[in-house]
């Protein structure tokens, strides 16, 4: 406690305070722009911190992390384009709510949920870091494989349209992710002799193509659709007490889910927001409204993805294990500044460890203030004629796709996946599971193969290890739930018809 209070006092000095403010502001701005991601800006900022004080550098990067995760909410809500992958689920309800004339309310729910999620998860980060990290590290490969299976089943279940198409979309994404060099064996597979495919289909071109450009083309088709002007005033931005009373269970539950999944190594905020969204839909009395602009969906997604930020910091600073892609970059920052990540960090460099913890909380408050102050102006972007936005968005996407590997090939890949996304929309195949399958399949494959190597080729531990079995049971139940629900509805309908 004393170390933590000292860290708070140190961060109130002008330099670190200014760095946090800059970090949160830049993070929000970058997170809100489709084509730029938090991971990109943090990676680009890393060389700039070489000559900075180590604590200043770390708090700047953590503040960017917090800001960029929250900033993704803005474009997800206003433009149906997640500024960051973690805002993927926010699109499902944030954008429809904005479309029906409530952008301020959607953003307000998202901002307050983000803040609440960050607050709840920070309590775990500060108070329970060591024991939580120890539990998560004990998870074996089969447990992580089972979790990824649950995530794919959940997203397939929650996406609009048939579950068969949802699972097919997930498998399509999984298939796309397997092109290129197999990480485990170094074998080049599924490239069919195309040398440019040795590196596989990179994340940004696929994401920008399927999710952003396909929507841009759809927007062009519907360009004549009138947009109703709704003012996004201050009143809309704050959750009323009644809203808070209605959402507090959702907020706490989603924050806990996001925190927990953020702690799990390598999985990150996207899976957290997916899982919490799915759970919220299951338990919500308004589950049919999910995907049409339901507040519960926005709150669940944003609480979880911000909670996952602090959750992912737990294994990083206590065990030296990155909790997400961004944490890999933060791990590099620790090493560059001669700080040894892991349990020794608290012993040898307590100012760095507690500085990270303290900055996560301060950045959360800064995020709340900046988002509430700036969002009403940003919300006005919705009413700019789309004809003026399409070209800049395409250019940003092109830059984003090109920047990953400095290849025009990735830009053409993005264009191709834009057509794929459009085709998927044409046949009512959801694109969410596609992206999730693309992201999770490599993790699932690596973990499954690791597990098989550990257990001499046996799949049995998948069902005999209790945690793995529990997650598998959830996956199976999720697959069967829509069928059971449909049968139940049919029986009820027949029963009512028989009564008449």
């Amino acid at each position: 406690m004393e170390n933590l209070l000292t860290a708070f006092a140190n961060l109130m000095a002008p330099a670190p305070f200014a760095f946090m403010l800059i970090g949160v502001t830049v993070g929000i701005a970058v997170g809100a722009i489709p084509g730029l991601s938090g991971a990109m800006v943090i990676a680009l900022t890393l060389p700039l911190t070489f000559y900075m004080d180590s604590t200043d550098a770390l708090v700047l990067l953590v503040a960017m992390y917090v800001g960029s995760t929250s900033g993704g909410l803005i474009s997800a809500t206003l433009m149906r384009m997640p500024g960051t992958p973690a805002a993927l689920m926010t699109v499902l309800d944030g954008f429809p709510m904005a479309q029906r004339g409530e952008p301020g309310r959607a953003l307000g729910f998202g901002i307050m949920a983000s803040f609440a999620g960050g607050l709840v998860s920070w309590l775990f980060l500060a108070a329970l870091s060591p024991p939580l990290a120890e539990i998560a590290v004990r998870f074996g490969p089969y447990e992580i494989f089972s979790i990824t299976l649950v995530a794919v089943m959940l997203i397939s279940a929650v996406s609009q349209g048939s579950m068969v198409k949802g699972i097919a979309a997930g498998l399509l994404g999984a298939g796309v992710s397997m092109v290129g060099v197999d990480d485990a064996s170094g074998t080049v597979r599924l490239t069919f002799g195309v040398a440019d495919l040795d590196a596989g289909f990179q994340l940004l071109p696929v994401l920008l193509g399927v999710l952003v450009l396909s929507q841009v083309l759809k927007d062009v088709v519907d360009i004549d659709r009138p947009v109703e002007r709704v003012p996004a005033g201050w009143r809309d931005m704050f959750m009323k007490l009644a809203d808070l009373r209605a959402q507090w269970v959702n907020i706490v539950r989603s924050s806990l889910i996001g925190t927990w999944i953020g702690i799990l190594p390598g999985i990150g905020g996207t899976t957290g927001s997916i899982a919490s969204y799915s759970v919220a839909r299951t338990f919500s009395p308004r589950s049919e409204e999910f995907g049409t602009g339901c507040e519960d969906g926005i709150v669940a997604a944003e609480s979880a993805n911000n909670a996952a930020v602090n959750g992912a910091l737990v294994p990083l600073i206590t065990m030296g294990i990155p909790g997400s892609v961004v944490d890999v970059i933060l791990l590099g920052a620790l090493i560059i500044h001669n700080l040894t990540p892991g349990p020794l960090l608290f012993t040898n460099s307590p100012e760095a460890a507690y500085g990270i913890i303290a900055s996560a909380l301060i950045a959360n408050f800064m995020m709340l203030a900046i988002m509430l102050l700036a969002t009403p102006w940003i919300a006005r972007l919705m009413y700019v004629d789309k004809a003026w936005l399409i070209a800049p968005i395409i250019v940003f996407c092109l830059i984003g796709a090109y920047s990953e590997s400095n290849r025009m090939f990735d830009v053409w890949v993005m264009f191709a996946f834009a057509l794929v996304g459009l085709a998927m929309m044409r046949i009512s195949m959801p694109t969410g599971p596609f992206i999730i399958g693309y992201i999770l399949a490599p993790i699932a494959e690596v973990q499954l193969r690791s597990g098989l190597m550990i257990y001499d080729g046996s799949f049995m531990p998948l069902v005999t290890r209790p945690v793995s079995a529990a997650f598998l049971a959830v996956a199976v139940l999720t697959a069967l739930w829509p069928i059971a629900a449909r049968l139940s509805r049919k029986r009820r309908t027949e029963g009512m018809a028989g009564g008449h």
Binding site: V41, L44, S162, V164, K165, I167, A168, L171, L172, A174, G175, M178, A184, S185, T187, R189, L190, F192, V216, L217, K218, V220, V221, D222, I223, D224, R225, D385, K386, A387, W388, I390, A391, P392, I394, V395, L398, I399, Y402, S403, N406, M408, V411, W412, F415, L419, A423, M424, M425, R426, I427, M429, A444, E445, L448, R449, L452, M453, D456, G457
Partner: protein, 164 residues
């Protein structure tokens, strides 16, 4: 989004095409794994997971096609488009063409990012907003500022390499 000609017993062309595409991808995945080497130090190797995914896609493709035919045989009507809303598929095609030309300009010519971006932004705004004087002049100004500022920010501030 795209209105379909519905009605009972109508062949669901779009769904069939989608199912065929999924089937093709599944087949490609399975075919692509046939030449992979057998696993050496592990039980399943690099071929297993893509093969399972491919088989799963083939099964689901058949399910999608079957579902589409069953629904059309049952006479399920497609959603009607919003009354009075004109679909601008022509503009979408134009956008694709202009964007492709932008990509070609960056990839195959020495025109440079700034020039290509200014030209692309101007042409696309005018194409989408309409070739009227009150669009053309502001679009030209916006495209110029946007292209030059973007190049400066990304190369001098973010130190990103830009195409072209």
């Amino acid at each position: 989004m795209f209105p379909r000609r519905g009605g009972s017993a109508a062949i669901p062309y779009a769904e069939c095409a989608g199912a065929a595409a999924v089937l093709a991808v599944g087949g490609l995945l399975v075919a692509g794994t046939l030449g992979l080497p057998a696993p050496v130090f592990e039980p399943i190797g690099a071929a297993a997971f893509p093969r399972w995914v491919g088989i799963g896609l083939i099964v689901l493709a058949l399910a999608i096609a079957a579902g589409a035919f069953l629904r059309s045989a049952g006479g399920e009507a497609d959603a009607a488009p919003a009354a009075g809303l004109r679909r601008r598929t022509d503009l979408a095609v134009l956008t694709v063409v202009i964007t492709a030309l932008y990509g070609f300009a960056l990839d195959l010519t020495a025109i440079g990012f700034r020039t290509a971006t200014v030209a692309f932004t101007f042409v696309l705004i005018v194409a989408l907003a309409g070739p009227r004087l009150k669009v053309v002049v502001p679009a030209a100004f916006f495209a110029l500022v946007f292209g030059i500022a973007l190049h400066y920010v990304f190369t001098r501030f973010f130190y990103l390499d830009l195409p072209g």
